[in-house]
Every structure is written in C-alpha cells, then in structure tokens.
C-alpha cells in the first residue's frame, strides 16, 4: 500500500514551538493559519503551545483552546502517520459504509478517534467528503479510495492485521 506523507516527528520542544509562534506575533487574524502550519510541522498542536500562542497573538488561552476544539481537523494529540477516514455520509451509509467502518476497526484494532501505539494509523470518521458517486469511500491521508468493499479494505489495511 501507498505510504502517505503525514509527518510525525518527535515531540516538539518549547523552543521549536516558540520559534514558529514568534513569526505570528501580534497578528490576531493568523490564529488558524498558525494552527495549520503547526500541524504541518508537528502533526498536531501540542497543548503546551496554547499559552505561547495566546500570548503572541494577544488572546486569552481559553480562546485559543476554544478554536482548536471547534475544528475537527485540528488535533491536540499526535496523529498516526496515516490518518484513515471512513466516510459516514448518507450515500456511503446506503452503500454499506457501516460495514466498511467495522472492518477498518478490526484491521487497525482501533476505535474512532484512536491512534495505534506506534503512531502508524489514526482512525476517524467523516460526515461526507463530496464524492458520493464513488461511495462507499475511505480517505487515507489525502488520497481517496472509492467503491470500497471488504476485499479492497483488506488490501488497503489487511497488512496491518497480519503484523499484529
């Protein structure tokens, strides 16, 4: 299977975070872009960065936390190198998305929102990714896999089960 490029590095140090945040000092509007850059860099938004961000952008730490908690795409925990998103939208549901999710859970040994201890995989569900014609869908990283069936799921994720 294709290895995807979601980065995961060792836990970033406060100095690394500080360096990144410093570029946005005083720019209140830049909160979300900063989150995105940070997530690109570290794979997630380390909770200890909240105070630094708040200070640099002139916000209260709770405001920063509030915005992070609002967006599903922002994480405060390290994510796996491969984020597997199983679509639970209406079209995918009608075409068996529920079974696809069940299989994904089995192969990865994960519940929704969980990450494997080796940070290889994170399993998520998504409400709709907009390619209902290909339903049911799985997205791994930024690549979409359509017309899923048990066999294809096994091809994509079965390797994982074998290893455990």
């Amino acid at each position: 299977m294709a290895k995807l490029k979601t980065k995961i590095k060792a836990e970033p140090s406060l100095a690394q975070i500080g360096k990144l945040v410093a570029e946005y000092r005083g720019q209140k509007w830049a909160l979300i872009p900063l989150f995105q850059v940070m997530q690109d860099e570290f794979g997630y938004i380390p909770p200890e960065s909240i105070d630094l961000i708040a200070k640099a952008l002139g916000l209260f730490p709770v405001q920063v936390q509030g915005v992070i908690s609002f967006y599903a795409q922002l994480y405060t925990k390290p994510q796996g190198r491969n984020v597997v998103r199983v679509c639970r939208g209406t079209a995918c549901h009608v075409r068996g998305g529920k079974t696809i999710l069940k299989l994904a859970k089995q192969y990865l040994g994960l519940e929704e929102g969980e990450t494997t201890p080796d940070y290889e995989y994170t399993l998520e569900t998504v409400a709709c990714i907009g390619v209902c014609a290909l339903a049911p869908n799985i997205v791994i990283g930024t690549t979409t896999y359509g017309h899923m069936n048990p066999k294809k799921v096994a091809q994509l994720l079965g390797e994982r089960k074998g290893r455990e």
């Binding site: 709770v62 405001q63 936390q65 908690s69 609002f70």
Partner: protein, 885 residues
C-alpha cells in the same frame, strides 16, 4: 452629534435614531418590547440566542435585532406572525434540552428563559427531549455550574473576557457538545477564575449559581447601596428576606462598576450576620466585660471624658475616626472632638496612607486626591501603574486597566519589583530596586525635558517652577539612575518616551508609593511627570490615587484630621474657624492636633489619658503592634465603637456596638471622588445603633447635644459649610451619584516641585531580606470583616511568607516548612511558600492576618511631613525552625 438621524418604520410607526444604533436599541428607545436572552448593554452583541428576531417586511428577512444596525427605509415588524412563531420554536428548542427543575431551581422567577417562555406563550414543548446531563463538580465555596441549564448565550464568557478581562472561560467544542469551559475543562478553582461573580449575576438561567449561601429563599426587598470594602465604590444591590441577606449582586447601571464586582463584594458581605457581631454595649469590670444598657454605657463614657478633660486637659484626649464609616459620621465625630472634647487630636486610619497624596498632590496640582474620573482612566492611551497591585487591592481598577489595554489598545507601563498578575498585560515592565521609585521617576522626567517632549502649552500656560525642577534634575542622568535603580538606562529612556508621547497618559499609584518613607516626595515626583506632559484635567490623562478603604477619601474630606477642618480648611484658618464656630456655637480648639501615631507614643509616655476609637483596629493595623497594644493598655480610659470585638476593642473599658454598612443611611466617597448613598437594608443587629446615632447620644449625655436628627440633615450642613461638597444632597444622590471636584483643580498655576531621591538607610547587618507587605484578593484590611465572611474564611491560608526559589535554596527550606521572620522590631513564625513572582532578596507577606502578625515586624518610622508610618517594606531575615515537619 452632526450625524444625520436615520428614520425607519417600526411596527407601522416612523421612528428615528442615530447611525450605529441597532434595531433593538431603537425599538427599546421607542418603547417597543423585544425579548432578549444573550443581550446585555455592557457586552458586545453577538446574536447568539436569536430570540430577538424581527422581520424586515420589505424582504421578509428575519434578523436578530441586537446585531442589525438600523438603515434608512427599513420597515421592521417586531411582532409579525412569522416572528412570533419562530420565537416560540427557538424557545421550545432551548427547553427541549433544559431540565424540568424549575419548581425547585433557586433561580426561580429571576430566570430569564422562563420569563421569555411565559411572555411569548410557550406552553407544552412537543419536541423530543434531549436532556444534557452536565453537572460539574466544584469545591470552591463561591460558584457552582450546572451546564444542563446552559443555553449557550455566552454572557458569562463575554463578561469574563470583555468586562473583567480575566478570560477564565470560553466555548469548548462544537454543536451539541459545546459548552463554556475553563482551560483544560478544569473546575473553576483550578482555573484563572477570581470568583468575581459577574458571570453569576449575568447568567440568564440557573446554569451558573452562587454556592454555599448562608440564607436562601425568595428576595422580598432589594436595596441599592455601596460595597463596604475597598475604595472603588462599586454599586451593589442587597437582596433581603426576613432581615437576612439573601444575595449581593452588582449594579448594572453603576457607571463605576458596570455589572462587575470582585469576590469580596459578591461573596464577602455576610460578615454582617456573623455570630461575632456585638449586640449590646459592654463595660469592663475587673477585667471582664459585662452587658449594660446604652444609657449606662454612655454615662460611663461621658463621665470618663469629663473627668479626664478636667484633670488633664483636652489635649490628653484623642479620637480616631474611621475610613469605613460614612461621611456624615466622620463629620459628626470631628465636631464631637472639636466642640465637645475641645481637642484637635483627631485622626483616621486612611490618613496613614493618604496623607502623602493630600500633601504631594496639593503642592503640585492643587488637588487632594484623584484628579480625573474613573471613566477617563479607561480612555487613556498609556497607563503607568506604580506601587500598587490593583488585582488584589482595587479589582475594579484592574478590570478598567485590562479593558483599556485589550479593547482600546492602551499601553501599560508597569513599575513593580514583584511580578504581579498585571505583568502579563504590560508593554513595558520595569523592576526597580525597592525604595528607588523617586530616582526612577526623576530619571524619566529628565529624559522628557532633555528630549524636549514637554507639553509646552500646558507647561507655559498652567505651571510654574519648571526651571528649578530642570536644574534639580540635572544629576538624574539615565546612567546615574541605572546605578540606583538597577534598571538599564535604555529602558528608562524608553519608558519616558512611551509616557510622554501619548496624548492621554494616566498614572495609577497606591500604597506602595504613599506608605514609603518618603511618600510625599514620591507622589510629587509623579505629579511632576503628569504636569510636564500636560496630563492633568479633562480630555487628558490623570493621576489616580487608589484608596484602600471604601470611605478613605470621605473620612479625610470630612476633617477627621488633626490639621484640617472639614474640606481641608486649615484649623488655623481664621475665616474657616469663624464659619464653623458660628454654626456650631462653640469655641474651636487652637493649634494642630496630634496624629494617630503621635498620640500612641503620647499614650505610652503617659501624656494621653483617654481615647475614643471608632471603627479602627490600631492594635493590628499600626506598626509595632506590641508597642501600640501597651500604649492602649496604659490609657486611663479607652472606648471602642465597632461591629466586632476586635483586638483593639478587647483592650477597651467600654465597647459600643454599632450598625454595619447594611444597617444605616449615609454617604461614602470613593477614590475618584464620587459621592454615593448607602442605604439601610437590614435592621441593626441586636441593640446596636448606627455610629451617627451613638455620637449624637454621647454628645447629648455630655450636655452638648448637636442639632441633627438624621444623616440627611448632617449632609445638608456639610453641603453648606464645605465648599468641596457644595451641591451634594440626598435627593440628587438618589437619582445619580455625584463626582466631586469638577474644577477641584486649583485655578491658580500648578507648580513643579523638585524631589530629591533619598537613599534608604543601608540595612542593618543580619537582616538581608526585604519584606513587602501587600493585600490578597480574598481578604481585606486587618481581616476583621473578611475573616468573618463565611465563604472567604474558607480560603484562609495559615499565615505565610513567600520567597524566591533561590533564597529558599540558600536557606534550605521547602514549601510548607515553618520559618521565623525576624526584624529588628519583632518576629513571627509562619509557613514558607515558594513563589516565582519574587526576585532574590525579596519576601512577601499579606497584611490581613489578625493579632498584628505582620505589622509587629515594623518599627514606627514616620514620614517627616505627614507623620504617617512606613508600612510597606522593612528588612528581615528568615530563620529555619529546626525539627519541624
């Protein structure tokens, strides 16, 4: 306003308003009722609840009126069938996830959700119920949250961020899961929350409620009055049932407090119901107090005063007035001292820290206190905060400073050796060595002169004596000042430019300035800075002298001072004497009287024989408490008038019980000179009487009755005889508070007053640490009231001393160890707390512990000008107590 009015059609009627108004504003102004839940006049509108929707009949659009600005030609219907139907749906959706506990919910009829539901006629909710179970476990004694009742209006969040500037809570999560939460979703006590109670007061439902109430039930009467703690003068409503306080809530209409309070105001007033309250007069016989009637008690006092006056003369009698008592009471008390006891030996506790302001500001800007209104502070572009930690000593001022910074883009210049909470708000934080403030301020002044940043118009037109000042400042070059203060010369120049270049720069100072050994000089140096940059008077910045007590300003205004008649008219001023003598029909005593501490020394030497102490606790609040206690014990006669048997009252021969702030009428004057009415909400406790009545009765018992029957009559006389209080009367005050001293600043030229930096005497060997004494948020003054407030008491820590990590390492002590704090004057044993807010060499203790714990370490060192004691810092050493823990 030259902006053109905008006319819209509202429910078929043409109405006009100013540009910028919202549809809701205009509707309310026109007398059209629109229901709201998330709207509050003090908060930015967010349109969260949607209940205020109205219909634009041209487009058919339904829009939230609280966030829709009026536009020409709008045709608005606030009650169309669609609007009504939609409002019902909105409320039903809210009720669908709201518990059915209205019958027992303590919010009762105060619940706005319930009120709106009933107003718009929602009966049954036919939607499927989705209960939100969300009680949050909290162990703090003040606030509990039951978010199952939350309607997500964000009033609490906005109050916390916009009004209080604390930012303890914000939304967390999204959709059904969203809720107001602290950082990390922790209980309030583990967050930044200061328990000011503003969110509790603004919450429209029962989601955020007051906890551990002393008395519950439905309020029967509500009385507007003024908070009895610090000098901010917040308006409060006392809600009463069965002669008990049910709750205290902030006054939303007060221009000072605007819906906010602090933890003491919100949750500290129940000291009035403390079982320690004195209920009957007592006379000490053979060392034990016995309860007596008022007649008997006053008879004993009258006889003693007469006897002492006859045998030792009037000058052996002393009276202490109180900065906690009303203006009227202080006025009566000084009349009693001057006319009945015939002595000018009268003083009050607030003079001990206020005198520096009275003299320092008078000699420069010609003002006896704060120069500008509280509102002006928030409009400042630069705020210089020095010698105060308003976070704990004047929370309302701290809120205003934070609002100025956060919302108006003001810059904060903080001068404090301690890392206080405001540090994180400061644009520039200078940490001078202790006691070097004057050098620093002089250094800044010199930079302003040298770099020609003076406000030339103001300096030339309104002031004199700049040349002398400039000459005197010659030596204060940045390099020299750096050597004294330890602040890099670049920072000094930077601070000076920062201050001088702002259009409106204000100075806020507190007891860290006034209680220094050279308090007068420090105040004058600050005034020089304000004068040379033109920051005096309307439209510019101002000087804000913070007060520690509710009526500190008023007590001094009323002349409970040894050197001034009411309104700062000198006791030697022939014209003033004539006016008062004519009115009072007595001969006023001649010569300046003794200040409080001179009187204490006098008592120790046996020169003082009788003392009348009203609402003060010198045995705890004065320096060198052991000596003070001995002095009080050595008196022939001591009468103490108080609400509690304080440490001082225990030493008295006669104790007179008095009514608390909630049990009497009168006025308080706050730190910016606003006079406000206090009103009677409760019957006086037991047989206690209001102070004013006690003074009047005592005068009558001494055959010199004073012709007043109510505080109102006293104020009438004050308004006539005291120019400063001209125009103050109860009828006016009932409508609106009144700020004194418009034009209080003298019309004659203001004067620069050179101040020399006097190095502090180098510490005696063996006392290497500098002790700071300050306030903490949860306790007040000597603690006689806050330690008796049921909830504040729960937060009472054991007496402690804070020290820096490096000192703790040197002393080999850790958090929780016991140490002895030793000064040349005394010693106390306390717990160690290690704090990262302190520099090496500094230790901190709060002032509120009773038994004179902290003040016992201070020797009596008086300011040469004002005879006020230095009570802010002294040199100490810490000793480990071996074999402990």
């Amino acid at each position: 306003m030259n902006l053109e009015a905008i006319t819209i059609t509202l429910n078929g009627r043409e109405v006009s308003g100013q540009p910028g108004m919202t549809v809701l504003d205009l509707a309310r102004e026109s007398g059209v009722a629109v229901p709201t839940l998330c709207h509050d006049p003090h908060l930015d509108p967010v349109g969260a609840c949607r209940i205020c929707i109205v219909e634009d009949e041209r487009s058919g659009a339904l829009m939230a009126s609280c966030v829709t600005p009026i536009a020409p030609g709008m045709v608005i219907n606030t009650e169309s069938p669609r609007v009504q139907e939609r409002r019902k749906t909105i409320i039903k959706l809210m009720l669908a996830s709201h518990p059915d506990s209205c019958l027992v919910c303590d919010k009762g009829n105060r619940c706005q959700l319930r009120k709106v539901a009933s107003d718009i006629g929602v009966g049954l909710v036919e939607f499927q119920r989705i209960p939100q179970l969300a009680t949050i476990e909290e162990v703090n004694p003040f606030i509990e949250r039951d978010l199952s009742k939350c309607i997500l209006c964000a009033k609490c969040i906005r109050a916390c961020q916009e009004l209080v500037g604390e930012g303890a809570i914000d939304y967390l999560g999204r959709g059904f899961a969203s809720k107001p939460a602290t950082l990390g979703d922790l209980p309030l006590e583990k967050s930044e929350c200061t328990f000011c109670g503003t969110c509790v007061a603004l919450c429209p439902t029962g989601a955020i409620m007051e906890k551990d109430k002393v008395y519950t039930g439905t309020t029967t009467t509500t009385v507007h009055t003024v908070c009895p703690f610090c000098g901010c003068g917040c308006g409060v409503y006392l809600e009463v049932k069965d002669n008990r306080l049910v709750r205290v809530r902030p006054d939303a209409d007060s221009s000072l407090s605007r819906s906010t309070l602090c933890v003491k105001g919100s949750y500290g007033c129940d000291f009035v119901h403390s079982s320690d309250r004195l209920s009957s007069p007592m006379v000490k016989v053979n060392g034990n107090f016995g309860v007596v009637s008022w007649e008997e008690a006053l008879g004993v006092v009258a006889d003693a005063f007469k006897r002492i006056k006859e045998t030792h003369g009037s000058s052996s009698l002393v009276v202490f007035g109180s900065s906690k008592c009303t203006n009227e009471e202080n006025y009566l008390l000084q009349r009693f001292a001057r006319c009945v006891l015939s002595t000018n030996n009268i003083d009050n506790g607030s003079r001990l820290y206020n005198a520096a302001t009275h003299v320092g500001l008078w000699e420069t800007v010609g003002c006896r206190g704060t120069t500008n209104s509280f509102d002006d502070l928030e409009r400042s572009q630069v705020i210089l905060v020095i010698g105060t930690d308003p976070t704990s000593s004047a929370p309302l001022v701290e809120y205003a400073i934070k609002r100025a910074v956060k919302r108006n883009g003001a810059k904060l210049l903080l001068i404090d050796p301690r890392q206080t909470k405001l540090v994180s708000w400061a644009n520039l934080w200078l940490k001078p060595k202790v006691g070097t403030d004057v050098a620093l301020i002089n250094g800044m002044a010199k930079v302003i002169i040298d770099e020609n940043m003076l406000d030339k118009e103001c300096v030339a037109g309104k002031t004199t004596n700049l040349e002398t000042l400039a000459k005197d400042l010659q030596e204060y070059t940045p390099g020299y000042v750096e050597k004294i203060t330890g602040i890099p010369s670049d920072d000094i120049c930077h601070a000076a430019r920062f201050f001088a270049k702002a259009g409106r720069a204000s100075i806020v100072y507190g007891d860290g300035i006034t209680q220094n050994i050279n308090g007068v000089g420090s105040v004058a140096a600050l005034a020089n800075l304000a004068l040379m940059t033109g920051n005096i008077g309307d439209g510019r910045g101002g000087i804000y002298a913070l007060q520690m007590e509710n009526n500190a300003q008023g007590a001094c205004d009323m002349g409970t001072l040894p050197d001034f008649l009411p309104g700062y008219q000198g006791v030697e001023d022939a014209q003033a004497r004539k006016i008062f003598e004519a009115r009072w029909g007595c001969q006023l005593p001649v010569g300046v009287g003794l200040t409080a501490l001179e009187a204490i020394s006098g008592a120790e030497e046996g020169k003082m024989r009788g003392m009348y102490i009203v609402g003060e606790n010198p045995a705890v609040s004065f320096p060198n408490s052991n000596l003070v206690r001995q002095a009080l014990e050595s008196l022939d006669f001591l009468v103490v008038q108080d609400i509690f048997l304080t440490e001082t009252a225990k030493l008295a021969k006669v104790v007179l019980p008095v009514a608390s702030f909630a049990e009497k009428e009168g006025t308080f004057t706050n730190f910016d000179g606003t006079v406000q009415r206090i009103r009677k909400a409760l019957e006086p406790f037991g047989n206690s009487l209001p102070d004013w009545e006690v003074i009047l009765r005592l005068a009558t018992t001494m055959n010199s009755s004073m012709p007043y029957s109510s505080p109102q009559e006293v104020m009438k006389e004050i308004a006539e005889l005291v120019p400063l209080y001209q125009g103050v009367n109860y009828a006016k005050l009932d409508v609106k508070s009144y700020r004194l001293g418009k034009g209080q600043i003298a019309s004659e030229k203001m004067k620069f007053s050179p101040v020399k930096y006097i190095p502090q005497p180098s510490p005696e060997d063996g006392y290497p640490l500098t002790l700071f004494v300050g306030t903490t948020l949860y306790q007040f003054g000597s603690g006689s009231r806050t330690l008796r407030a049921s909830r504040l008491r729960k937060l009472l820590p054991e007496a402690f001393v804070e020290l820096s990590k490096s000192d703790s390492r040197k002393l080999k002590v850790k958090d929780g160890d016991r140490v002895k704090v030793v000064s040349p004057t005394g010693e106390v044993a306390v717990l160690v707390r290690i704090s990262d807010t302190l520099n090496q060499g500094m230790v901190f203790m709060p002032a509120f512990f009773p038994e004179g714990l902290v003040n016992g370490l201070f020797d009596i060192v008086l300011d040469p000008r004002t005879k006020a004691p230095a009570l802010k810092t002294c040199q100490v050493r810490l000793e480990r107590i071996e074999g402990d823990g």
